[in-house]
Each structure stands twice: as C-alpha cells, then as structure tokens.
Amino acid sequence: MLSMDLDGYLIKDKPYYSQTHNEIALFEAAAANRMPMMLKGPTGCGKTRFVEYMAWKLKKPLITVSCHEDMTASDLVGRYLLDAEGTVWHDGPLTLAVRYGAICYLDEIVEARQDTSVVIHSLTDDRRILSLEKKNEVVKAHDDFQIVVSYNPGYQSVLKDLKESTKQRFGAIDFNYPDPELESKIIVHESGVDKKIADKLVQISERSRNLKGHGLDEGASTRMLIYAAQLITQGVPLEDACNVALVLPITDDQDVRNALNSAIAACT
C-alpha cells in the first residue's frame, strides 16, 4: 500500500543493468528480509545503477541521498520550517522512506560525518524505528523500508571511515568493474558504439587500471568508458575521445598523461 507521497520516487522504466556475478539474487534475498545493505566498489562501476535496477525490479520507490561532509542529521531526518501560520515539520528524505516504505539509498556514506551516520543505527537493527527528537515522535519503519548505502573503499583513510558500529549493521556486496566481455556489452548498450570500438575501449581501460597505485588513485571506470564511447558516436576520433574522457579527468601529472596516451596509441 503506497502512499501518494512517494509516487514520484517510483522508477517507471526498466534501467539497464547487467549482472556481473550473482548480486541480483543476493540483493533480492536481503531485500526479502529488509536487511540493510552496503554496496562496495570503485567509483563508476555501477553501484547506483544497480540500486535503481533493484528498486525497479522490486517495485519499490527509491529515495537517494548523496552524502557530503556538511550534512547534518536534520538534513536526513527533517526539521521544523516556517509558514504563514507558524512552524511546520518537514520530513527529511530518510523519514519519508521510513514512514511510507521506500528504499533509502545513502550514496557515498563515508562522506557524511560520523555523528550524522549514527542516526541510522536504530533503523538498522531489529528495532527498525526512527526517533524524531525535535518532534517528539517515534516513527516505526514501514514494512517495505530498506536502507542501502554505498561505500568506496578506495577513499578509505583514517579520517574517512565508517564507525565499526555502523559497518557491522550491514550486509555487503562487493562490486568491481565487469569482465571485459560484459563491460564491452555494457558500453555498446549505453552508447550505441560498435562492438569493436567497445572492445578497444575495454582494452584501453585495462591500461589505465594497471596504473592504479602507480601514479593513479583509480583506473578508468566503466562510466568513463561509456563517456568516451558516447563521444565517439558523435564523431570524435578514438584517441581524442580517450584523452577527453579517460586521461585528462583522472590525472594532472604530465608523465602519467604521457604514459597513458602512449599506451592508448599502442592499442589503436
């Protein structure tokens, strides 16, 4: 029974998602138990797309919150605002999901400050409640409510890490870049480029992923490959497209750029 409030959050069209291992089945099983899930993996490998796909598949509304370091608990939970009559309470995205039963997806949760992410604790154990202290209300989670967070271990540093008590409330699925064959298929689908060019882009991406930890923090993601492919479908030559989409964004180091461009030249 869905409230009208969340209609806008329903995903109408089927998002394209291609399974890399067995993550769909795993997520379905977790969703059946409303288990809080954590999606780990490098940026641009399809975590957000996966959540959208699962929300569509499970026919649940999806409320996405991109976390940032200035985010406060009230940004998630809600706050009093003013109107002509007086003060009114305004539910935050998390409360909305809790009240009416949606998947609440906290993207890049490590970006949020640790004291902010603590508000989800009472929702992620068997209590499944959210207390709105300011409003003096305890919201019991809707049956359909599920919380999903994404977490990029690549950014991990002493400063930015989840509290142990937060981590332990989640089940996790590890994502990585798809296998070459599948990645090429995804590129073809998303950009409409030739399979041959998609294969080439996948080969190029491996050149860049080889440099992870040796000049690059992270290699070219699937998303970047799709961007490159999209440029190619607009008639941009392959090497230029790669430079724009795969090399320049990820490094300012001239030597790394030079090495990458030469390696790309070797692939073409």
Binding site: V158, Q203, R207, N210, G213, H214, G215, A259, S262
Partner: protein, 767 residues
C-alpha cells in the same frame, strides 16, 4: 720600462734573453700583432708579451700567446686578449706548460664560438676555476674546446664542468676521465646540458608506460660505463633487470622519446612472450644472431596482435633498404624489417625465404621453438653463401631492440675457451662482473629468476615500491653555483635497519618516570577534540537553520530574538602527522661527557620519549634515520612507518641504530618529504634531529649541501609541509639558520638534556 726604446709612439722591446733563438719567431709575431690593437692598448699588449717571455716559462708559451691573442683581439675584443695573459701565466704555474701553451689557441676557439664578451668571460672564469680545483683536467678540456663549445653555450659548459667537479669529488683520476669524455657520467651530463633527451629525463613516464601497457615493473638501470662506443650500446635484459643506455645518439627531442618508448615496448614484449631461454648448445654465432632476430619478430608480432598501435611505433626505426651490399649485418637488418613490415619488398632470395618461413601459417607463433628452427636453417644458408659474419662487431639493428642476451642460457660456457661466441659471451661475462651478487650463477639461477619474476609482475595488492625491502630512488640536487637542480643526481637507498633490543626502549621509559608523567599531563591538555561545527554563533559563514527558526518564532511571540543565528566550523582537534628524521652519521658516536654516553644514544632516548608522547596523542607519526656514503648511496632506514603500530618491532629497530658515515641532509629530506606528502592530515611536520653540518665524502664545497638542504626545505614549505630542526651542535646556528630559517631551529646546548627537551619541544610546537 727603462729597457725599452721608442719607435714612434710604440714601445719597442729588445730581444728577450730568456727566449734565445726563439726570438726569431717571437719578435716578428709582435710586429704583426701590433696591428690588431688600438693605439692606446698596443703598449700594454706588447709589455704583456714580454713579461710572459721573461717569466721563465720557456719559449712556446709566449710565442703561442703572441700568435693567437691578436686574433682574439680582432675576433672578440682587445681587452679580452690582454686580460688573457694572467690566465696563461696562472696555467703555466698551476698546471703545466703544455696547458698554458694551448690556452691562447683554445681561447681563440672559444671566442669564435662565443656570441659575446660576456659568454667569453664565463668560459675564462670556468677555466680559471678548473685551474685552481682540478689542474690535471685543464689540458683535456682545452683540447676539446672547439668540440664542446660547438654544442654547448658557455653557461652550459660551466654547468657541465661544475657537474664534473661535483660528481668526481677528490678523485683526480676520475676527474681526468670525466673531462676526457672517458666516463659515462661525463657524456650523460654533456648530453643533459646540450638539451638532449637522456633516459633519466623520461624515466618516470616510461616506467608508467611499461606498467600501463604490459603491467610490468622490472627494475630499470642505466647502463654502467661500458667500453663500447655509445652508438653501439643497446638495451639489455639480464636476469630480469633492464639496462638502458643513457642516450641514443642521433635521436633528438621527440625522436629520442620515441626510441626509448619503442625500446621499452619491445622489452615488455620479451618479458611477456619470451618465457623460456634458448639453450646455446652447439649453435654458431650467426645462428644465435638469427634465432634472436626471429624471436624479436615473433614477440613483436604477438604484441602487435594485442596492441596494433605498436606497429606504428616500431616501424619508423626499420630503415633497412632492399639495395646495397649483401653484407651479413645489412641482410639481417633487411630480414628484421621484412618480418615486421608488410609493405616492405625485398628481392633478395634469402630475405624472402626468411619471410616465407616466418609467415608460414603452420607456425605456432606462441612457441619459441619455431625461432630456433628457422634461425638454424637460415644460418646454414648464409654459411653456404660463404657470407662473413663477425660476431664481435655485430650490433643489433634497429637500435631500439635489445641485445637479446637475456634470451640465451649460456650453460657452463662462461669463462672458458669459447672465443667464437664473440660478443654474446663477452657481454655476458661483463654482466656477470657487473653484478656482484651473481657470483655462482649455476646454483642461484633458478631461484633468482623466480625472484625477479615476482618483482616484475607487480601484484595488484602491492601499493607501491614501499613493499620491497631495499629500494633506490633518485633525487635531484640543487647547485647554488648554477642556480638549478641537477636531475637524478643522488640516489637514496632504503636499507633494512638492524634489530636491537626492544627492552632497551622500555627501560628508557622506566628510567625517566617523572618525565613520562609530566608528558602525560601535558598530553591531557593537548588532547582537545571538540566537534568541528559550532552552532548558535554571532558570526559565521552559514545560517544555523534551527537558530533562525527559533529567532523567527521568538519574534512572532513578541520576544527579543536571539541574534546568534550563524554556524561555523572550526578545527580544534589535532590533525597532524609527524616524521622524525634522525641523523645517524659517524659524528653521533661522539661521547657526551655530561651524560656519559654518545650523541646517538641521547638521540635514541629522546626519540623514545617523543614517540611515547606521539603515540599517546594518537598523532600519526613515522620515524626514519639517515646517513650517507657519497651521492650514489644515501642510506635511509625506516624505523616506523605511518600507519604501523609503534610496537616491539619498531622499538627494536630504534634500539638497533648505529652511527656511521656522513650527513647528506638534502637527499634524505627529499625522501622523507616524499613520504610526508602522502599524508592527508591538515598539518605535516618533518622533525629533523641532527648533530652536524651537512657533509659527504664526495663534497668539498661545504656551502653546496647547505644550499641544497635549504632549497629542499623551501620547496617542502610550498607544499605545505613544515620542517623543524633540532640541532645538537653548539655553534650550529650558522648553517642551521640558513637551511631551516631562524624560527624553525632549536639548538640544544647541553646535550644531556635532549631526552627531556625534545618531547616538551614537540608538545609546544604542535599545541
């Protein structure tokens, strides 16, 4: 001038007694030379000539001066020609007569190459310095004046000379070798000054290239000084170590970069596809050369299948033409081209046969055995043609390809009678000698190969070089004389430190109980960690929404609203990482009478207490130590890394430190800064504890290392890294203030109090 008579307004000197018969040659030169000087300088010049003639240097020097200085006056400037006389006589006194005699001619050559008098005076000053610092090297340099200055400007010439003096230190023999171009360094810096692309300029990007393309990280070394001329040097892969020539002569700018890249792409192909070594067996040298050539073509073909772009990289270097004399090296180059270039047509039957055999669809390209089969066949054919092949002079073409030594398993051949294997065996022997660790190749070979194998296939999990126990990193060094950094000048080698007794560290803490307690108290107050965000502020960079709403509510209720409606963020927690760098040079073994122990011992005690404070404060910290043994061997010891726990292991390493060698501070600091730069804290601090002036065995000029260290500190501060120095030498203020700036230095006068002072200093510094 009483001896002179006057002819017109010119001074005329009588024949010089010193010169005797040589006057016949000397006097006419003076008569001629007069014409080249303006009226007011003629007498000065003539007098200069005669002074030189009467100085007792023999006849040749004044004659050379009288002959060349007038030309110099015309080419450049009369004053310059006259001033030269003092340098000539200096050379005669300090160096020898030969150098002094050559000097006027060299000066003329220099003047011809120089654009201006300023350029010429740079040359002159440089020679003068050389006369003072390395007299034995003056002659070789003068002899090559024309050659050198046709490539370098005088400023570059000066830099090259200074580089020579810096790199050879006190070693006269090496100096002579350097300045006679008999030293690899000499050529390298000459090329560097000439603006040629040398490998070291490209090292970083080429290593990334190899890693990116082939996912390989083999150790790459510059080819050590070799007897073969530079143009014949090739890349070489021995036991997984890639040796690379410093330059490929004739390849400039873009071209140079391409050939290095082509070479490393070829190396990558070998390391990926040449998985098994060929047994030398009974093969003749020509067969060895052919099998290698075909193996080159095979790995390149496989590589091009995966990376088609490599063909565009390699092809331009194949310049063999299907014409010309049918000499074996030429035929080999043609075959090499035929095997990789589809558009190349060669009418020669042997080359065609080679191509057909290689391209036979029945071949299994992934199996190196085909190379042996085809190579042996083709070799026999050449034998029947009675074509001469001299393996000693044979050099692999095109030049980007390696010498293929790494392909062969030489079995027990090395060192015995086999002479006919020529260059291969000889080169192999050379390499064996180069590598001191390789003393019993037969026993260790497999083991070594495995190790090397592991080294190259850099595993994904490996974060970087830090995983290896001993690594070497090259750093530039700043030369105040040239005002520039000389790239890749020093080499910092990380050695694994010795273990000591970790209980010693615990005992230090026990014996200083009251101090530990005081530190504890101080830490309590230093450990402030407040929330970063401050709400309800009267000023701030953003509105505090909740406070705003309350304020509006108050207004509606008819009350005075609270004006504190802003929020702000403040960093009140400690966000600091520290690297403690200990100077453990030999002088730290000196006794400190007041404490009845050595300087190093006090350093260790102080560091122990400091480490205690830092670990209690939860500040991320690292501890390292350094000393140096010349520019090629700056020792760096990691006692504790960032992120590692301060545990028994690091305590044992700290306790095990021993004082030795010298203090090349700049290089060590560069290495330390590189590590600190990766720390993500708000403040980063290098705390260096040193007992003496920067010095090293190969540096005479004390100012040099001080200025280099100063430069390092400056560039670090631009990166936002602070440096603080604790000096342990009374009177060290002079150079320490110069290096670190007055406010960043504390000199501890009574060394026995160091253990007490250091942690306190740290807490004050970081409060």
């Amino acid at each position: 001038m009483s001896t002179s008579t006057t002819r017109g307004k010119y001074a005329v000197f009588p024949a010089s007694k010193e010169l005797g018969d040589a006057n016949k040659e000397f006097l006419p030169l003076i008569e001629q030379g007069r014409e080249s000087f303006p009226v007011h300088l003629v007498n000065v010049w003539v007098e200069a000539c005669h002074k030189l003639a009467n100085a007792g240097y023999g006849a040749l020097i004044p004659i050379a001066y009288a002959r060349y200085s007038p030309k110099l006056a015309v080419t450049l400037q009369p004053e310059a020609a006259i001033n030269l006389v003092s340098l000539v006589s200096l050379a005669a006194i300090k160096v020898n007569r030969a150098a002094a005699e050559l000097l006027p001619k060299a000066a003329l050559e220099a003047a011809t190459e120089c654009k201006s008098t300023t350029d010429f005076s740079v040359w002159q000053i440089t020679i003068e310095e050389l006369v003072h610092t390395a007299p034995e090297s003056v002659l070789p340099v003068l002899e090559r004046t024309k050659t050198i200055l046709s490539v370098l400007t005088t400023d570059q010439f000066r830099s090259w000379v200074i580089a020579g003096l810096r790199s050879t230190g006190d070693d006269t023999l090496r100096q002579i070798q350097y300045f006679s171009f008999n030293d690899a360094e000499s050529e390298k810096w000459f090329r560097h000054e000439a603006g040629d692309v040398v490998y070291t300029d490209l090292d970083r990007r080429l290593k990334y290239y190899l890693k990116s393309l082939w996912n390989l990280r083999p150790p790459i070394r510059e080819l050590s000084a070799s007897t073969s001329p530079l143009s014949l040097r090739r890349i070489s892969i021995t036991n997984g170590v890639v040796q690379i020539p410093e330059v490929f002569p004739g390849f400039h700018g873009e071209q140079a970069e391409l050939i290095f890249r082509a070479g490393l792409a070829h190396v990558g192909a070998h390391l990926t596809y040449s998985t098994k070594k060929f047994a030398l067996g009974e093969l003749k040298p020509i067969q060895v050369a052919l099998v290698s050539l075909i193996e080159d073509a095979r790995v390149e073909t496989l590589a091009i299948r995966v990376f088609p772009g490599l063909k565009k990289l390699w092809l331009p270097f194949h310049v063999a033409k299907p014409s010309g004399p049918k000499l074996v090296p030429h035929l080999l180059a043609r075959l090499a081209r035929a095997l990789i270039d589809d558009n190349y047509h060669d009418s020669d039957g042997w080359v065609q046969k080679g191509r057909d055999l290689f391209l036979d669809p029945a071949n299994d390209m992934t199996d190196p055995a085909m190379c042996r089969r085809i190579g042996v066949l083709l070799g026999n054919d050449l034998g029947q043609l009675r074509a001469q092949f001299n393996s000693k002079t044979y050099v692999i073409e095109p030049p980007y390809r390696d010498d293929n030594m790494g392909l062969w398993d030489f079995g027990d051949h090395q060192g015995d009678e086999e002479d006919n294997d020529g260059i291969f065996i000889e080169a192999m022997r050379m390499n064996e000698q180069d590598d001191p660790s390789n003393n019993s190749p037969d026993e260790n070979k497999n083991e070594q190969d495995e190790n090397v194998e592991q080294q190259f296939h850099a595993k994904e999990s490996e974060s970087s070089e830090e995983c290896e126990s001993e690594i070497a990193v090259r750093y530039p060094e700043f030369d105040y004389l040239t005002g520039s950094e000389r790239p890749n000048w020093t080499c910092v080698v990380e050695y694994f430190p010795d273990y000591g007794d970790s209980h010693k560290i615990n005992r230090i803490l026990e014996t200083h109980t009251d101090l530990v307690n005081r530190i504890k108290n101080l830490i309590q107050s230093a450990k402030v960690s407040l929330p970063e965000r401050l709400h309800h502020q009267s000023v701030g960079e953003s509105l505090d929404l909740d406070a705003c709403i309350n304020a509006v509510i108050s207004r509606r209720m008819g009350q005075v609203p609270d004006p504190n409606i802003y929020s702000t963020t403040e960093r009140k927690h400690r966000d600091l990482s520290v690297l403690v760098l200990l100077d453990i040079s030999n002088s730290t073994n000196d006794q400190v009478p007041a404490a009845n122990t050595t300087v190093l011992e006090l350093e260790i005690q102080a560091t122990t207490l400091l480490a205690y404070a830092m670990s209690e404060l939860d500040d991320p910290f690292g501890i390292a130590a350094f000393c140096s043994d010349g520019k090629e061997n700056v020792h760096y010891y990691r006692i504790k890394n960032f992120g590692e726990a301060y545990d028994t292991n690091s305590k044992a390493l700290l306790a095990g430190l021993k004082g030795k060698l010298s203090t090349r501070m700049g290089a060590a600091m560069r290495h330390a800064f590189r590590e600190l730069a990766t720390q993500q804290t708000h403040r980063r601090l290098l705390l260096i504890i040193t007992d003496g002036e920067p010095s090293d065995i190969d540096v005479k000029d004390k100012k040099y290392l001080v200025e280099d260290a100063r430069k390092v500190v400056h560039s670090a501060s631009r990166l936002g890294i602070d440096t603080f120095c604790v000096g342990l030498e009374a009177g060290g203020e002079n150079y320490l203030h110069r290096i670190f700036d007055k406010k960043n230095v504390v000199v501890i006068d009574s060394l026995d109090r160091l253990p007490e002072r250091l942690p306190m200093l740290y807490l004050r510094l970081t409060a």
